[in-house]
Subunit: 392 residues, 4 copies
């Protein structure tokens, strides 16, 4: 069985998620498309890199990500850094002929995204952006129902991604609140996940009308690049600095196929943790999903008899998408690990079978174009067309 | 104990809801502000009027609503007709010095609404628009928490009113789909309920940005004015005519106090029946409500300890708003009847205590102004200011 | 249209529930089987009786319930007193040829229940015991599915009735905690409701194995017969007396048709308000119900495809049992009032059509026999046969 | 960092769950107590063993489990076989001084369990029985609340474990339906999980009163020892053989501390997938859990104000048990993998720190004694005392 050598850059929590996926993927999906081998992990902090290599079972570590790019044995470059270095690494990786898995959002700017996309395209490498939530089996089941026509023509939808980890004004000013590192706030951090999900399920977004807000104008400075996702808090005497990105983002969207919807993303919704939801209304049925209860999909079929119609709560299992690789009965439990294992499987399969997979850099770039239109609309307060992907 | 003589106009399902409220109100809220006496019911169809009088226990009936206006013993005129005759009746009633309870939406047009409001104001009669859902005890509890500051400053909100009774293209073209009778579609029929609720909970809407759609362009004609709410369906050979109102309406709204939100109303959401919901995020907590599970309010308080914070499911009961008049323990059950009994209680109390009650004609008029801005924005596709109530 | 003259005995909260039902029933179910006329209300306390007559719209009142029995114009005697006087009144009413609606549980003892049943039978009067919860449309829909065979042969079930209004040791020692007035505690007060519901849905109980407990051995004495359902509390200096009934009752049951189940009733379940639930497993499907969300029934059909099977949440509406009389769309809202209106309708219909209705005194007596077996089993700690109804 | 060499016996789905846990544990809990090294996997079928070694990343494989016992480098023997060979392997492993992780239920008989316990005790090895569900963070949070006294003295509880994978009469007669291999049916397979959970949360069970049933008396024979958990089905012409274990088991239990409860386990509950639930009522609050929504715990505190009391939905995260090792915010997602990683962590920690962990073989044996009492009670139909653990 073929091995894929992995070089992973960045040693934060996403490195953990990707590492357990590399280890677990063949255990779940067998025969595996390839056996991932965790060759090198890179972090600018040497102690962090060394620690990560041991913790995540990499064969070696480095403080210079170029070592990974330059290693001819590395097949896959996996980018788990803050957003502001995605582009440089990805472009270098593409030019070195490495396949690339990149955390989301793809880049700081659309021009970066375009460069990344074209670099990958021109160098014929496989790419994936880590919008893992669309790979939740229940979301895949939604896709299946939609493709089968089970809910008819899609009329409208609503999506949300609500969290509360930064609702406290004392939660720290990590890089996720600094525009030059993250690009945008709730929009890029979480909103793009639900944009990816609904663009995948419903269709291409063509026009948006948005509003953004920064509710907490300054936050306590924290040292280093670490990102505690709100789990450490600044005290009354903390030095505070300005937040220059959105805490909340909401927009209406029109799709190429006539569907319409709204999407809302906020990290200031007390009581919501990882509340990624959608509700899709079609001419023949409706579908609802809530990632906080991710083993379930709600679906209502118009054609059910009037006296027994209602949302069905379907727990995904062996007879549903990815079911053969996962657990033998529904509700044993899909966790974050399982979503990342599925992601890893699909990416490795795409590489080995020399086929495109989605969401790839083109999708990531398309989502950056949507994000751009959203941020522009939030300023101009008018419906704003989403620009088209530049193919060269 | 004082009696209030009631004249009710229109003998459809709302007449039933109001009649049971008149009968039940003193049984629930005692001592009652007054004992309603169901004196006269009017319907243009004589058989319907006679039947309604017996069924709803009115002392008399008429086919001419002017008889009610002209009856010096009538204290309250209750308007349960289709929307297109609200204005004429209400203005006549006001000029005759009758207090007026009017079904929603208040009128076909804002100019009608203005006339109605001013007629009532100038004739010093008490008015109420029957946005009963805001009187659900759980919604009142939300109001109480907000007023106490329990969720802090309101940041943003989302409201929905989703139904499916007209999602079937064979459900009939009742007056609810004819602009000259109903004024607007999903917006006026159901959207205004959620507008009323959120305007009440959050604050005045100042600007909106909307989209409307008609998903089913024609429907089977049904005879007469009856309104089966989709419970009869046309066959393949039905004569069909155009729908000229919205099936779906969605908008973003800005409030005077800086709060922002989205509202969505549709009668084409398979699996949703009377899905009136809101979710409100404040700086110190969140509140959620779903009328389909109306005995409950969900509330999350930021100040709860990190290790035990989460949405609380509070069932309303004796210690909550209106609790003393309702049932002795929570979850015995709030139904549509109970919401209408509360409405009747508050309106009778306003009359007897000579105090304003809300939502009155001024509120109904304000909501028409919001609706106007919504429909205009849906056409112009730009943010549209809500006009101010004209006080004379 | 025929009138039924009602004499109602007892002026507490059940009197309210019954009164609003008499007023509302013809408004909901039309043509009504008869028009109830609230002729006389009786309470031993004259002020309470006079007040109740005005509040509940009775034409007259009395302090002596015999006046109702002796009034030849009274058609129906409605017993809303504490349990200890049910028997005497009901037997007198039966002997006077009155039809009888009696609150649950039927009696203090099975010998009383037997006498009541036989008195009614021998005097050919119609009877009903007010187990109203089984009349919730969602419960009726469960019955319909079961009768259609939609869930196959019933294998097993679980029922609960959980409340918390007396979980606080300071909630008062009302008559509901005194054996000589109430007969039993949680069992009779609430457990019998769920026994009625499951006996109705599943089949006759033949054998039980029970456990009871009194968690709070003494409570503050309250004056008078009033019953605040925990809404007033005694302070630290209250005089306290012993509780001699069960706070909690749990039992396993075997049914004549081979089905098996457990039932649990407690008034000490913090967070549960009126949590009447059942879950029934059949060879071809399952059904679940929770009265706290009473507009809904959950049903799973085995024959649904593997990839789309799951509990359906069906909201009851016009096409479901009693739907034509209730509200025109699902989830407008079934409250306690609506359940009592349905009860009133069925009882009046039985009288006018000279047909038996269930649950009648025979059912109430059968449930007393089950309760007897439960209490005996709780003492003897062995499986105990339920005695058969004595037909003379 | 110390390495623990693992020898795993049995190559079915539990081998996968354990293998991903060994790989992932250090990635989650760092510094890890030790690094597990997957040295040898054994299966009687050589192809299966070889395949498993590659798939699960073991360094070697064997068809003879004695090789693992006899390998002096192996530190931990992990038993994932059908139940009938647990005892032989475990006793041999203990005598060889290996630490033992054994899948549940511990054994076919209590005498085996006793031998296993004593062998481990006498040989001073650490043991664990893989009742992983109690390690779900939400269950651990329940334990924390109970230990803090947050719900007061425990009064009563209800536990369920409901599945439907064998509700279809055509699902195959795997070893889980053959008494000589599995010992008991729904009781041992799933019921013991909920027994473990409630014994852990509430206290020692002293006496039980049970009922068992076999609903589907015969099933299609399947070849080999494989266990598809219902995912393959026999056709009409299948050869069928008798099931000699329970499909359903239900019992009442008394605990040493006075608490009382019921537990129900069935594999014939259509619509339930892995429905492991409990509801615990205490004098000061209540707790509910449903594994199908395992990121959440429901808790109601009596001491919350009357006007804001209700079940709180707490999503477990970093500030809850095991939170530091898991994901950085709640509801990223606890899956089956995460529960097994926690189990692995606790077992490795126990070994390295030379401390007892629970549930160990003593607990597994205690649960066998409870199971014995249940099965005996189901036959004799009387309350049956649970025998005490024999310490030698």
């Amino acid at each position: 069985m073929k091995t894929l050598n992995i070089g992973l850059i960045g040693a934060g929590f996403m490195a953990k998620a990707h590492s357990v996926a590399y280890a677990g993927m063949p255990m779940f999906f067998w025969p595996a498309p390839a056996i991932p081998f965790k060759k090198t992990i890179a972090d600018i902090n040497e102690a962090a890199a060394r620690d990560a290599a041991e913790k995540f079972a990499f064969a070696s570590y480095t403080t210079d990500w170029h070592d990974i790019i330059n290693d001819p044995d590395i097949d896959v470059v996996d980018i788990c850094t803050p957003n502001n270095v995605h582009a440089e690494i990805a472009i270098a990786a593409a030019r070195s002929g490495k396949h690339i898995l990149c955390e989301k959002p793809l880049s700081l700017t659309t021009s970066q995204a375009k460069e990344m996309y074209l670099a990958a395209k021109n160098n014929h490498v496989k790419t994936m952006v880590a919008f893992n939530y669309r790979r939740t089996p229940a979301v895949q089941l939604a896709k299946k129902y939609i493709e089968e026509g089970a809910i008819g023509k899609i009329l409208d939808f609503r999506g949300t991604y609500l969290q509360d980890w930064s609702a406290d004004p004392d939660s720290p000013l990590s890089w996720r609140f600094q525009k030059d590192i993250c690009g945008s706030g709730a929009l890029g951090d979480i909103g793009t996940h639900v944009v990816d999900m609904l663009r995948y399920l419903v269709g291409e977004f063509t026009s948006v009308n948005a509003r953004t807000a920064t509710y907490i104008p300054e936050r306590p400075v924290q040292s280093g690049m670490s990102d505690s996702l709100g789990n450490t808090k600044g005290g009354a005497d903390s030095i505070r600095q300005s937040v220059d990105v959105d805490d909340q983002c909401c927009f209406m969207a029109e799709c190429a196929n006539g569907a319409f919807g709204t999407i809302e993303a906020t990290r200031n919704a007390w009581g919501r943790n990882n509340y990624i939801t959608f509700e899709i209304h079609g001419s023949e049925g409706s579908i609802c999903f809530n990632y906080e209860r991710r083993d379930e999909l709600q679906v209502c079929f118009a054609k059910d008899g009037d006296d027994r119609r209602g949302f069905r709560t379907v727990y995904t299992g062996p007879c549903h998408p990815y079911g053969e690789g996962l657990w033998p009965i529904p509700a044993l439990g899909i966790g974050y690990t399982e979503t990342k294992i599925i992601e890893c499987y699909d990416f490795c399969k795409a590489i080995m079978q020399d086929q495109e997979v989605s969401p790839n850099f083109r999708d990531g770039y398309a989502i950056e174009l949507i994000s751009d239109a959203i941020l522009e609309s939030a300023k101009t307060r008018v419906w704003t067309k989403v620009k088209e992907v530049a193919e060269n």
